[in-house]
Symmetry: C3
Subunit: 344 residues, 3 copies
Amino acid sequence: MKSVSAKQLAELVGGKLLGDETIMVSGVSSLKDATPDQVSFVGNKKYQSQLETTKAQVVLVCEELENEPLNGRTFIVCECVDLAFSKVIMVFAPPAPAYPAGVHPSAVVSGSAVIGGNVHIGPCAVISDQVVIGDNTVIGAGCYIGHESKIGANCFISPNVTVMYRCYIGNRVILHPGVVVGGDGFGFVPGPRGIIKIPQTGIVQIDDDVEIGANTTLDRARFGKTWIKAGVKIDNQVMIAHNVVVGECSLLVAQSGIAGSAELGRGVILAAKAGVNGHITLGDGVQIAGTSGVVKSLPAGSIALGTPAESQREFMTRWTLPKKVEKLSKKIEQLENKLKELKG
Amino acid sequence: MKSVSAKQLAELVGGKLLGDETIMVSGVSSLKDATPDQVSFVGNKKYQSQLETTKAQVVLVCEELENEPLNGRTFIVCECVDLAFSKVIMVFAPPAPAYPAGVHPSAVVSGSAVIGGNVHIGPCAVISDQVVIGDNTVIGAGCYIGHESKIGANCFISPNVTVMYRCYIGNRVILHPGVVVGGDGFGFVPGPRGIIKIPQTGIVQIDDDVEIGANTTLDRARFGKTWIKAGVKIDNQVMIAHNVVVGECSLLVAQSGIAGSAELGRGVILAAKAGVNGHITLGDGVQIAGTSGVVKSLPAGSIALGTPAESQREFMTRWTLPKKVEKLSKKIEQLENKLKELKG
Amino acid sequence: MKSVSAKQLAELVGGKLLGDETIMVSGVSSLKDATPDQVSFVGNKKYQSQLETTKAQVVLVCEELENEPLNGRTFIVCECVDLAFSKVIMVFAPPAPAYPAGVHPSAVVSGSAVIGGNVHIGPCAVISDQVVIGDNTVIGAGCYIGHESKIGANCFISPNVTVMYRCYIGNRVILHPGVVVGGDGFGFVPGPRGIIKIPQTGIVQIDDDVEIGANTTLDRARFGKTWIKAGVKIDNQVMIAHNVVVGECSLLVAQSGIAGSAELGRGVILAAKAGVNGHITLGDGVQIAGTSGVVKSLPAGSIALGTPAESQREFMTRWTLPKKVEKLSKKIEQLENKLKELKG
């Protein structure tokens, strides 16, 4: 088991050490579960109470907590505890599995595909005609990459991912298992004898540094493209409909969904299970609370919640209505009594 | 690059041409993104304002907009713009990939399976014992088709679809990637030593002309069948529980879900993220708004929204309550003042 | 076709027979769809009305209905109708498909994997280095089991399941198709040049007797483990984020989701589409209604609904507000009239 001193950790994360720099730790844990030989962290003042009871003897703390009593512990004060603790985690983490370069003999790679250098193609993966794959990319076992699709360099495409035909994926993109890129958009019109399918002839484009969670689906555009811009991070089981545009560095949390042709600006956050109607626009930095349903366009910087989503002020007015009505009810009772008195 | 005249397009879609019939276009786009050599469309009067600013010189318009000023543009007036524009899209769309007939050598096909004529079975697909597959059907790479299941003619089963044992799929059915047909229904009863599983011994039946979106799941019946009737269109990430019946030509939008033994009539629409409780019935043509949770049966033609779902009138009464309470509050204040005056 | 007498069925389920014990049945159905030669069931008094119109001649009934008129039918009175009817279903159900022991030649099994006795490994399944698989376990076609993961004995891992590296799965665990175990948790911090990924170095641990529905995803912990305890049953399309703990015998219904580091006690029930915020605790036996969003910790035994979730009493106060406001509005009108009279 690896053992590291508090001093070494403070140097690793560039933090300020308070307390005993010689104390040794051999693992990481949460404040609640830590044993005395583990290092833990607290990045937010609201978890401060756990700091009093934790068994951890070395704790990374945020600058807000710098002046709290040590109680015999060693603090390492960090500007960004999350990033600092990530470095500490990596000290103790077992190595991630390696995916060595090469095409597994059970993989099926078209002769017309162009495969970059140092690429791993896992067992039973299928690479269709005229696919292009960039250097150092991993294509996991059981993946299907459809005709004429392109995947950039340094990507990690997990096992059992499906990329349908003619989709374009940038560099350093991570797709988790079960992701589907380029299924048909949901487009139909009523006809005289049942429902008629509207052809979905566009593509999906995913720019550099995007990460997409397990079993998320991104639909092919009706025409043109469904477009996930650079640096977007998408969680599991998110639904991106046809012709949606998601701006740079937006965060879409689990089970959220965006209907057709909606456009999100840069740095938008959809919390878990939020939904966005089709054909609307959310400006840069818009934040939508979990489970909310957004039915109209919102200007940059808006925060909205509820269904239909409204501002925090409007939502709070609505939420506190029972109390307000109770108060009015009492006032009415008083009025009735006073009126009786007057009459009497 | 293909180039087509406005006259040719008008003939293709059977529309009425207003303006310059000789103008040439070489692609499609939305009003917003169009360049002068692209044809665009507007199917709804509410997008009329974009018609004034678009760079598109040829636009398919709905009949409502027939008398709008051309402003130098060419209009093609169409009865159904969506269908007409689909035809135009196909003129310029690159061809869809071909899936040539034949069984890929890496596919695993049981000797007892019966495979129709002109069938494509992709790499690493698995066809189990006694499966029957109809003519002209495509089974994508990595699909698993379980024992004794039947798939009709002219189906498109995308890569990485799972059809468990003894499920019946009709003709011209499209399943997008990641669809799961015939996982066990969720049935349990509490027992003296933990939870006891109720066997799920029924099947899933999917009738002709059904389309099902990526990563949607349809559970096997407890007994009898889970039944998707002809012409139903299901979007991505929809959940169909055991013994559910969905009537002909219903539309189930993304991330909606139907609990066990619920029955939907013909032409029902569930908007995105809507949920339907178990053991209830929605009559023909019922429409449920996005994110709504339906907890009781609804007669044919009902429109419901909210959770628990209620009528539009009830929902609007509830939604406008803050304003109403504000008004009452002011009236009470006035009454209090008048009463003071009287007393005084 | 198999034919069985009412007497035989009563003996099979240990129920009390009322009526004609010689009547023969040859299948099962619901009350509504039953033909005269089928046995049906009613486990809840609220479905009693269907008992009057059903064509079934033999019906398993709960003890509450023991004294209802037979109307020529045969009743088999059961303590737990659900369990009893499951036994009856199995009498008539066609046999489930067999998955014979052995490794399919198209499967790819690492030389360093340790495979137990009587294990089935299906076509195109991939078993990575140092995986351990217990006796009698089925690994379906197309599954991917990542490096160093362990799967216990008597498990059924359906086709097209993905288990990423270093995840631990107990005995008698059932995973339905499309399940993803061990994708990265969704952890990011904003950095000076875009969003920085927080490494997810922990594992997923799934204890004995857990069942997980189709396309459900369980994310790998940031460090430590995401933990599903023994006997938990999870439905389809459920999202379990990193470091979540789900207590023994909890039930998570379809499309529900639990955000990072939330902890659920023993026997918790999340109804369909319910969501639980990160970093909160739900005590033993907590029940959350469908579509609800829980934003704060709840003590054992709580029942909560709505978003943000509140108690039944609070929710009903809120829900009945329109009626209450209507009443107040009338009272105010009366007051106004009385005041006018007084003044007049």
